[in-house]
Subunit: 420 residues, 2 copies
């Protein structure tokens, strides 16, 4: 099965919102074995929308449209669908009753605009939306189907999971299979050199891609074939070859992140951790606590944005700050010790750096970041030079902190990594 | 001038990366008066790429392509351009010399694959890329131009700012103008009702759009017209009408965020702040410290993920935790007091809640979040019920914390808001 994703709304084209819906849909469709041919974002303008439907229905079995179904006047998707399919609109009493009940439950007044939401193109099959007022819609035609969902991400995700997944599973699917290998600590072109002979010997129906991002590189091995078992075996086998060639830079497979893998190791080894953050300003804590179950190993953080806070709450010596500066390995090592003390954890991470745009000097330019990871027994520290913009400096510093934690854990032979 | 954006790479279609480049480009092009007709993401497959070029060059003056220019084997953009334009490839010695120098400076070995990067389609004009190995490329044809840039965001942004902006400014541009009004604390459909008469009376060349996200709604007023001054005057006038109709829910205009506006108010009034976070796990601190200059008013945070940390570092009474629970206004009010104490700031924010998926009860379901904002003189508190997934609960809680801070500041008549 082949699909096109169409997202509607000027706000995407002028960059006021980022199209995360398409990425989410692409991933889910891929996992279901549906090949996504394209993602097309267009204006909420009739001609643009008709051209998009024209292009997508030409080669796709499934056209998924998001956006343009809310209660306000900028919503045209339904009109475009009715024009494209050449059907009239009708007033759907069931939808009106549901919206009324939804608003009554929340004690909100029902707006006159919500009545407009109840007009539907004929031939529609409706998918209930328990999280909002606009239902999902399905139109089945000879050769293709159009599915339309609201653009609000959690409503779209709900309708997709509840209704679209079962619908797709009822259709035939082709054999697509892929694996992802996650690495950190080595550049894309060096990895490419390392595994060049494996790639050269791989069969034609398999392809390799590198996805570098913030001090890590993902390698995607994918393919399609009529024989599902042979396809899976080939790709799993190549995944093993690549992993054994690359060794310890590989930290996980498929749907995972460095933080999730670290959480597994920490929890399995009954280790606790705390963080002391300066330039990362809470971003390390945020990435840790995004994961359900993080409270099993994570105790808390001191975001010591001000030097006085570093002294008062973490016990960094004024003389250290004066002699070496706030951005120094001497300071981050004292921050680790203070952090272990405050939170009484097995391990602590400390980061201090210059995120920019101000605050740099010749000796310590913007992007200088010190990271220390340690326990009561030993501390490992490293200074990095990132030199990008503020936001990226913060994101890289956060990733380096996790890479340093992994390195710290790997060099302790008593820690069990087999869950990886 | 009309433009299409094409992004290349299977990783976008299968959702392994989110296409933030297109949003960034859309925003910049719009600011330059270039109308973006579409964003099209396709596979790195020759037929798909040729079809995308075909579609885009039909109605666009400018086709901007990102992605597919890195050193590894999955990069085909240049081959697709040379095929589409029917030109040959040549080895560009200048590019090779620059890559060699780039690697020498960083003490990295030059990979054999980088030599492939030096092959260029004929008729190319190269744009230097000081941040990476792949240069930007310009191809000027009768009726349209194609510009190609690497997909790595900071390299793409560098080439765009250095080379593409001046290039576009040399061409003619049409008159497009828009304003954005940022609001918080009121739903989309109620806002739509509030300003319905203003919208009905607005001229035809102006359009309104609502962009709801996480407890805030942006209203975009846009239009295009041959007379630039009249267009600007009309839209600025409508912006004022809408703002005065909506009153205090409006917190800013155009390129801004709630946090940036709060920073202005805090700094102008010489106020300092600190945060005590439980369920938001550092995300409030992260959003504050993302902004340059935040150190002028932000002192730091305690991420008190564990109850013992709430007691030990923030001085929350064990009896309070026992009687009311960690997720209670009684606890967040004590967290505010402790936070004021630890960081010695004028104001403190405290948040405690159940982000989920576990930890909910009938009395306090997942998504229950308590927020307190206070000074030594007074504290304002409110309990929210969000009930979405973990990540969204954390994001909403963070936004509610900032909305509560704004409410706290607004109710103090001595605080000057005129910079808004």
């Amino acid at each position: 099965m082949k699909a096109s994703i169409i997202t509607i709304g000027t706000e995407i084209l002028i960059g006021q919102i980022i199209d995360t819906n398409s990425a989410w849909l692409g991933q889910k469709l891929n996992n279901l074995g549906v090949e996504v041919l394209r993602v097309l974002s267009v204006n909420d303008e009739m001609n643009q929308m008709l051209a998009a439907f024209e292009m997508a229905t030409k080669d796709s079995d499934l056209v998924i449209v998001t956006g343009g179904l809310g209660p306000t006047k900028d919503d045209f998707t339904k009109k475009a669908i009715s024009e494209f399919l050449e059907v009239d609109m009708y007033f759907d009493q069931g939808t009106y009753d549901k919206i009324s009940a939804y608003f009554k439950k929340r004690n909100f007044p029902i707006s006159s605009m919500h009545k407009e939401q109840c007009f539907m193109p004929e031939t529609v099959k409706l998918f209930e939306n328990k999280l909002g007022t606009a239902p999902g819609m399905l139109f089945e035609k000879e050769g293709y189907s159009i599915i339309s969902m609201p653009g609000v991400p959690f409503e779209m995700k709900y309708i997709f999971a509840e209704h679209i997944v079962p619908y797709i599973k009822r259709q035939e699917t082709e054999n697509i299979y892929y694996r992802t290998i996650h690495t950190c600590g080595r550049g894309e072109s060096m990895i490419a050199d390392d595994i060049a002979t494996i790639i050269d010997k791989a069969p034609d129906f398999v392809s390799f891609a590198y996805l570098p991002s913030k001090a890590s590189v993902r390698i995607r091995i994918s393919g399609s074939h009529s024989n599902r078992e042979a396809l899976q075996e080939t790709i799993n086998n190549l995944t093993e070859q690549v992993s054994s060639q690359l060794g310890k830079i590989v930290f996980g497979y498929d749907e995972t992140t460095l933080v999730k893998e670290l959480q597994k190791v920490m929890v399995n080894n009954r280790l606790t951790i705390s963080t002391a953050e300066s330039c990362t300003g809470g971003n390390i804590a945020h990435h840790i606590t995004l994961n359900p179950g993080s409270s099993a190993y994570y105790q808390g953080s001191v975001v010591a944005y001000d030097n006085q806070v570093k002294e008062k709450t973490l016990g960094v010596k004024p003389s250290t700050l004066e002699k070496y500066g706030a951005v120094s390995l001497e300071t981050t090592e004292e921050m680790v010790k203070g952090c272990l003390n405050v939170f009484n954890t097995n391990i602590a991470i400390a980061v201090s750096g210059i995120a920019g745009p101000g605050g740099g000097s010749e000796e310590k330019p913007v992007g200088t970041v010190c990271v220390s990871v340690g326990s009561k027994e030993r501390i490992e520290s490293k200074k990095f030079l990132i030199q990008k913009d503020r936001e990226i400096n913060i994101e890289y510093s956060t990733t380096y902190a996790f890479i340093m934690l992994r390195k710290f854990l790997l060099s302790d032979n008593s820690i069990n990594f087999t869950q990886n």
